[in-house]
Symmetry: C2
Subunit: 155 residues, 2 copies
DNA sequence: TGACAATAGTCGTTATAACGAGTATCTTTA
DNA sequence: TAAAGATACTCGTTATAACGACTATTGTCA
């Protein structure tokens, strides 16, 4: 029995190797995500919120449009609106309407938001290295290449 | 710039190769998941519901405990309870208390549930082959091995 | 310019994910 | 056998994901 089949207690073999890979990717993403959840928990941030804060930090003083955030995260605008709502309520993000195009809302990370991210930089980096570091440079590179290839037929 | 960095419009290089792989896995799982969502949409099933139905089909006449379902899917019991509620309301699952141990609730897939799964077997199988088939036997095998290795340090 | 489309964001809804509290039913043990 | 603990599930809550409807603003073009 394959390692994955054993892990999910599936005695029946997979219908195809493709299906095994598919389930394997889902499972791996889920399991690795837990580690990040653990790291974020003390800061009361979800993974989505953390990702948005990092995007806002990258955008700097200029801030960024709501729609651009959702574009980078591949999520709906509507979800980003509400995610930003919560970050704004916690004082980690500020928002204001663009003067030139009043449809646009510009979001910026606040000093308080930057502070949290700075506190997270090391633990996050270390945590990820702790769970994936054992693969080593070569296998990480192989895995990256295969994953990019794996979704080449989708997006 | 790497393919992933380009995809998420991240000009800043990744802090580490581990981090790139981590984000890459999350992204790939998400993108591949969309395909399955599309296949399930006409049947008004979520991926979680589909997975549970397949587990119930695998369990056969004997049915299966709620806690065993959550064990296989690695989710909380509480979430499975509510997921089963909805499947039961739609007539795809039946539930009854175990006579011997009245704490236990046994769930079984109904004929109607089996019917839906049968209608889905081909499209699901074909859909996954369509998005991952281009990798070929060898790369699929490599990817499987690397993914199992990738989460070896976590669970 | 005035109708119409496109863009940017908000709000509503259902189902999940993750956390935790609570209830009923066995099991163990003093 | 009564009390304590373990087990199996249910219910409550907040934040997401995915869908869609809606408002406000800007752009296009006949």
């Amino acid at each position: 029995m394959s390692a994955l089949a054993d892990e999910i207690k599936q005695s029946k073999p997979f219908a195809s190797k493709e299906e095994e890979v598919f389930l394997n990717i889902q499972r791996t993403a889920e399991v690795l995500g837990w580690t990040m959840n653990e790291i974020l928990k003390p800061f009361e941030l979800t993974r989505g919120q953390y990702n948005v804060l990092r995007i806002l930090r990258g955008a700097g003083e200029d801030g960024i449009k709501c729609s651009e955030v959702s574009e980078r995260l591949i999520t709906k605008d509507s979800d980003i609106t509400r995610l930003l709502d919560r970050l704004e309520n916690r004082g980690l993000v500020s928002r204001e309407r663009d003067e030139k195009d009043r449809r646009i809302v510009i979001s910026r990370i606040t000093d308080q938001g930057l502070e949290i991210l700075e506190q997270l930089d090391e633990p996050a980096s270390q945590g990820i290295k702790r769970i994936l570091g054992h693969l080593g440079e070569d296998l990480l590179e192989q895995l990256n290449a295969l994953l990019v290839l794996a979704r080449a037929n989708v997006k």
